[in-house]
């Protein structure tokens, strides 16, 4: 138990001044601007937006600067900030099928309608340090537009291609039973998660969950702890429009274009007496460009559908309560890091208990010897 302490104000203030000094670093080096973070550390910004669960590049960049690059601390700042803002409402569900594609790949089909667009990717780099970046960096490359074929305006979903042949279960699963029917969409920022959770709440939880945690769990399913033999059916990244229906207008208006990454995993078959075997699916979606996150999310989403698909829940990734209760890095860091706050009273009682136990044992030994 943590018991409130008093005093130390002056030391705390000074410690925070020292923090500000450390944040600034050597004053001979130019200070980093939040615009530079927003433009040049874009993937850090994307991670803070997606796990901070707030799409605002400027705020995320500021949080990263304030947190000295500690992304979980930055996410904490963003989560705290959002609690000070009123909620205007809920958007219409975004149409990722109408995404303006900047990257779109499939590991299941070589040739697919719309083509494979690599976009800005680390894939196929050699992971060799580029010492040119240590100095001024090379001039911005011109992207040649020597393209023989223009991109198709419409890029059909890879999983829909399988669906048309009846080889893929529908987006909500073959049973399609998970909608509670009243059209309500669970919101864990308004109501605490209860178990068993519906898939809408699970997806919300995973979308803001810690990338490292989800990565490890996703990896564990590949290594046999809840295996479902996944293929990356499709990964796409680009811009989608956000539509919102203001109460005072009563019709939908587009309020923005946001960058999203989406991953659809194709996983092992499932059939029943009535339905011949079909591929199953896992889904990942998150703010910004974050493939590792959405791929992991899709693996874990699929693993968490164990009950629905009649699979025995044996592995950690299939254990809904375990996964959803530990995925949030702000809850996790809060509980772990609170251990360093003063626990003096609590510890004193343990210390006394231990001394008493030892004294009793010593006394018993003496009595036995006599």
């Amino acid at each position: 138990m943590y018991v409130a302490v008093k005093g130390g104000e002056k030391a705390i203030d000074t410690a925070h001044d020292l923090l500000a000094k450390e944040r600034r670093g050597n004053p001979d080096i130019p200070e980093i601007a939040t615009a530079q973070i927003a433009e040049q550390l874009t993937l850090a910004v994307d991670r803070v937006m997606s796990e901070g669960s707030l799409y605002d590049r400027g705020l995320a960049a500021l949080a990263i600067k304030q947190a000295r690059g500690d992304l979980i601390e930055a996410i904490f700042l963003i989560r705290a900030y959002r609690t000070t803002m009123p909620r205007f409402g809920y958007s219409e569900p975004v149409e990722t099928s109408r995404m303006t594609i900047r990257r779109r790949i499939s590991a299941t089909y070589k040739d697919l309608p719309g083509g494979q667009i690599l976009g800005p990717t680390f894939d196929y780099t050699h992971r060799l340090l580029d010492f040119n970046l240590e100095t001024e960096g090379p001039a911005q490359p011109e992207i040649g537009s020597s393209v023989s074929r223009p991109a198709d305006a419409h890029m059909p979903r890879v999983l829909d291609l399988l669906g048309k042949e009846g080889l893929m279960e529908p987006p909500d699963g073959a049973s399609a039973a998970r909608d509670n029917g009243d059209g309500k969409v669970g919101d864990l920022t308004r109501e605490p998660v209860s178990f068993p959770a519906d898939r809408d709440v699970r997806l919300q939880n995973l979308a803001r969950g810690d990338e490292g945690f989800l990565l490890a769990l996703g990896y564990s399913t590949q290594r046999g702890y809840g295996r479902n033999h996944p293929f990356a059916g499709e990964v796409r990244m680009g811009e989608v429009r956000v539509e919102f229906v203001p109460e005072e207008l009563g019709f939908a208006i587009e309020i923005s274009e946001i960058t999203l990454t989406e991953c659809e995993m194709v996983t092992q078959f499932k059939g029943s007496k009535d339905v011949p075997p079909q591929f199953t699916r896992g889904y990942g979606l998150a703010f910004g460009h974050c493939e590792r996150k959405t791929m992991s999310m899709a693996l874990v989403d699929r693993a968490l559908r164990a009950d629905e698909l009649g699979e025995e829940r044996q592995a950690p990734a299939q254990d809904e309560e375990f996964v959803l209760s530990h995925s949030d890095n702000i809850q996790a860091t809060g509980f772990v890091e609170h251990l360093k706050l003063p626990h003096y009273v609590d510890f004193q009682s343990e210390l006394e208990l231990l001394r008493k136990m030892r004294a009793e044992i010593a006394k018993a030994h003496v009595e036995a010897a006599e």
């Binding site: 669960s53 707030l54 799409y55 605002d56 400027g58 705020l59 959002r82 009123p86 909620r87 205007f88 409402g89 219409e92 975004v94 990722t96 099928s97 303006t100 900047r102 990257r103 070589k110 083509g115 494979q116 667009i117 690599l118 800005p120 537009s145 393209v147 074929r149 223009p150 991109a151 999983l159 987006p171 909500d172 998970r178 909608d179 969409v185 669970g186 919101d187 920022t189 898939r199 809408d200 709440v201 997806l203 919300q204 979308a207 680009g238 429009r241 956000v242 919102f244 203001p246 005072e248 019709f251 939908a252 208006i253 923005s256 946001i258 989406e262 699916r281 889904y283 979606l285 703010f287």
Partner: protein
């Protein structure tokens, strides 16, 4: 409002919301004196919870929030203009709301369309085209090689 009018309004409200902030400020600034307007609400910032769909097409779920600034203005003749724009951008929201009000007035509609909405539409199309061309240059054709053991 007829369906066509509604679609037109949805269209221009989208263009205004997505516009580059500096570009909108310049275009509105170049119009010279604009009618007086009252601020009925805001500009004020808040959050909209963005929703996605399971599997891209299934049941909705809450993905995460975004910052939004909204504003409602009333011009002298009583026309209401509304705006919802992303981020914390009070000036952008107010300009967009004013443009929305003026676009609903016969006296201003053509002027605002030609001098604000059309240029913004063109800028957006150019931006999209440039992005598309860059992405397109990374289109890849993979070849599968026959492996020895498959023969």
């Amino acid at each position: 409002m007829t369906d066509v009018q509604l679609q037109d309004r949805q269209q221009w409200m989208g263009i205004l919301a997505r516009a580059n902030e500096t570009a909108l400020a310049q275009l509105v600034g170049s119009l010279g004196d604009l009618p007086e307007h009252d601020l009925l609400r805001g500009p004020e910032s808040g959050l909209v919870m963005v929703r996605g769909r399971a599997g891209g097409a299934g049941n909705a779920f809450n993905l995460g929030e975004m910052t939004v600034t909204r504003c409602t203005v009333r011009t002298g003749d009583g026309t209401l203009g509304h705006a919802y724009v992303s981020g914390r951008r009070p000036e952008h929201a107010e300009r967009a709301a004013l443009a929305d009000a003026l676009l609903q007035q016969e006296t201003h509609h053509t002027q605002i369309m030609e001098r604000v909405i059309d240029p913004l539409t063109q800028q957006e199309a150019a931006r999209r085209e440039a992005n598309r061309a860059e992405s397109d240059a990374t289109r890849v054709d993979f070849f599968t090689l026959v492996r020895g053991e498959d023969e």
